[in-house]
C-alpha cells in the first residue's frame, strides 16, 4: 500500500518573536496530499503563527519545514516558489479594495504566472460561479457582504491553482448568518481533494470535514487525532479542558 505524498512536513519548529516571546516550541506536523487538517486551540496558542510559517509570512529560528518538496530557507526564490503553490485565506479577507472582484482574481495569475488575460478571466468567472458570486464580478469589494468577500478571497487564491490551501480563521470575522456559506465552499474544496490546513473554532466543520484535528496550546502540539476520537474521546487532559471551554 502506498500512502499519499507528504505535502507539508514540519519538524521541530521553534519561533521566538523579536520581543522574546517563545511562540512555537518544537512543533511537528505532516500533512498528506488531499488531507484536511484542522488546527484548534485557545487564542495565543501559536496556531495562526504556525500556519503562517508554511508560506513564510512568519519566519522561524530552528527546525525545518518542507512544502511540496521545497525546503523553506532564506532563499527568496524558494519563498516565491512556495507562495505560488500555496493559497492563503485570511481572517480579515484582505481583498484589494481598489480593484474590482474580477481584477482581484486575475491580478496574480497574470503578473506571476504570466498567463494570457482572457484565459485567466474565463477561469476567474468560473471560480466566482463555483463560489456562487459570478454576478458580482464587476463590483468592488467594499460593496459586498463579509461572507461574499471571504468567498471572493477563496476564489482569488484558487485562481493561482494552488496545490495547498491555508485558512487562518476564515469565519471568525463574519456575522453568524454568513459563516455557513463560507464553510460550504470550503467543504466543496475538501470534497474535490484539495490539501487544506484550517485554523478555526468551527467544531461542526472539524467533525464533518477534517481528516485529523490538531490541538495546540502554548506553542506545542498537545494532541493529533481523527475528529471522531478527538471530540468523543480525547487522550489528554488539556484537550478535555479545551473542549469543555468551547462547549
Amino acid at each position: 500500500m502506498t500512502s499519499p505524498a507528504v505535502m507539508i512536513e514540519a519538524r521541530g519548529v521553534e519561533k521566538w518573536y523579536p520581543n522574546g516571546f517563545h511562540a512555537l516550541r518544537g512543533v511537528d506536523l505532516s500533512v498528506h496530499q488531499g488531507e484536511v487538517v484542522v488546527i484548534m486551540g485557545p487564542s495565543g496558542s501559536g496556531k495562526s503563527t504556525f500556519l503562517r510559517t508554511f508560506n513564510a509570512l512568519e519566519d522561524f529560528q530552528q527546525g525545518a519545514i518542507t512544502v511540496d518538496g521545497i525546503t523553506l530557507s532564506d532563499d527568496l526564490g524558494h519563498i516565491d516558489a512556495i507562495r505560488r503553490e500555496v493559497g492563503m485565506v485570511f481572517q480579515q479577507f484582505n481583498l484589494f479594495p481598489h480593484l474590482s472582484v474580477l481584477e482581484n482574481l486575475t491580478l496574480a495569475p497574470v503578473l506571476v504566472r504570466k498567463l494570457p488575460k482572457p484565459a485567466v478571466e474565463r477561469r476567474a468567472l468560473e471560480l466566482l460561479d463555483r463560489v456562487g458570486i459570478a454576478e458580482q464580478a464587476h463590483k468592488y469589494p467594499g460593496q459586498l457582504s463579509g461572507g461574499q468577500q471571504q468567498r471572493v478571497a477563496i476564489a482569488r487564491s484558487l485562481c493561482m491553482e494552488p496545490r495547498i490551501m491555508l485558512f487562518d480563521e476564515p469565519t471568525s470575522a463574519l456575522d453568524p448568518e454568513m459563516v455557513q456559506e463560507v464553510l460550504e465552499v470550503m467543504q466543496g474544496l475538501a470534497r474535490d481533494g484539495m490539501t487544506m490546513v484550517v485554523v478555526t473554532h468551527e467544531v461542526r466543520f472539524a467533525r464533518q470535514v477534517a481528516h485529523r484535528v490538531v490541538l495546540m496550546d502554548a506553542g506545542v502540539v498537545v494532541e493529533i487525532a481523527p475528529p471522531d476520537r478527538f471530540f468523543s474521546n480525547p487522550q489528554h487532559e488539556r484537550s478535555r479542558q479545551f473542549l469543555r471551554q468551547i462547549g
Binding site: N55, R83, G87, P97, V112, Q143, S157, M160
Partner: protein, 411 residues
Amino acid sequence: MAAPPPATLRPGPVQWLRRELFGSRLDGLISIALISFLLAAALGLARWALFQAQWAVISANSTLFAVGRYPLEQQWRLWLLSALLALATGLSWGLLRALPRSGPPPTLWPRNDRWAVAILVVLALWLPLALQLTLAIQLRWWASTALLLLARWAAGRWGQTLSPLARRLIPLIWPLLYLVGMVLISGGLGLVQVAPSDWGGLLLTLLMASFAILLCFPLGVLLALGRRSELPVLRWGSVLYIEFIRGAPLITLLFLGQNILGFLLPGGLAPDRVWRAAWVLTFFAAAYVAEAVRSGLAAVPSGQLEAARSLGLSMPFALIHVVLPQALRVALPTTVGQFISLLQDTTLLSLIGLLDLLGTARTVMANPAFLGRNAEVYLVLAVLFWCCCAALGLGSRALETRLNPNLAASR
C-alpha cells in the same frame, strides 16, 4: 416608488437665507455686520480698480510678465506650445467626460463644463482687449481657445468610439508634450538656442514649478519607500535626507545650491543657474512629498501586503499593484497641497536673482515710468497665482473622485 423628500430638505433661496443667516437674533446681527463689512470692502476695491488704478503698467509690460526677455522673433515657438497645450487639454477634458471610470457617460456638456466654457470664452475675448494686444496676438489667443474647445467637443463626441489601445496610449501625449515643450522653449533640433537666463515671467515660474512637481513626485515615493525599507542603510539614508531638507529653509538651500553645485560637479557639468534652482526646488519638495506618501503607506493595512505576497507577487509587484495605488490615493490631497506651496515657493527664485513672475514684477516696479504702481502689479500677480493653484486643486479633486472605487461605483 420612493417617497418625495420632505420640503425642508430642499428649501427655496429665501428659506435658505432665513435658516442659515438669520436663524436667531445673534445670527442675524453677525450676518448683517459681516455682510455690510464685505460690501464696503468690495465697493472700495471696485472704486479703486475702476477709477484710481492705472493698469497701463500691466498692459505695457504684458509680454515681460508672460515670458520675460524671451527673444521676440522666437516667441512663435511659445505660441505653438500654447496651441499644443490647448489641444492636449481639450482632448483630455473631453475624454475624461466621455469615458467615466464607471457608469454611463453623462451628457456632452454637463453644467460645470458649460460654466468653464463660458469663463474661457469671456477670458479669450476680454483679456487681449484689456491688455491692448496687437491684432496678430489677439488672433493667436482666440485660435488657442478655439482649438481647446474644438478638441473638447470632438473628444467628448467621439471618445467612446476609440479602441482600448488608443485609450491607453492617449495619456502618453502629456510626457511627450513635456519633452516637445522643452525643445520648443530651449531650442535644439534645428531651433535656435534660447539660454535659460532669457526665460522669465510666467513662463519661468510655470516651467520651474512643473519641472519640480514632475520630478519630486517619483523621488518622494522612492524616499518614502526607503524610509520604510528593511535595509538599514536605505532607511537611515532616507531619514537623514528627509529630516535635513525639512529642517532647512528653502531660501537657504537655494543660495546653497547656487554656490555648492559649482564646487561639487566638475566644470561644465554644473547646470546653469536656472537649472540649479530647479533641482534644488525638486530635492526640497521631494522630502515633503515623501512624508505625505509615508502617511499614505501607513494607512494601508499590513494584510494587503501579506495577501499580495502570499499570492506569489514579488515585492516590487506587490508595491506597484497593491500597496502604492492605495497609499497614493490617501496621500493625494496632502501631496497636491505640497505642489501648490511649491508653485508659490518659486517666488523665492526672485531673491537669487532669477526673473520669475515676482522677479519680473520687481524690475517693472523699479522702472521710473511706473513708479508707485505696486498695488496693480501685486494684485495681478496674486490673481495669476490663485488661478494656477485653483487649477491644481480642481485637478486633484477630480483625480480623487476618479480614483475612489467606492465613489466611482456608487455613482
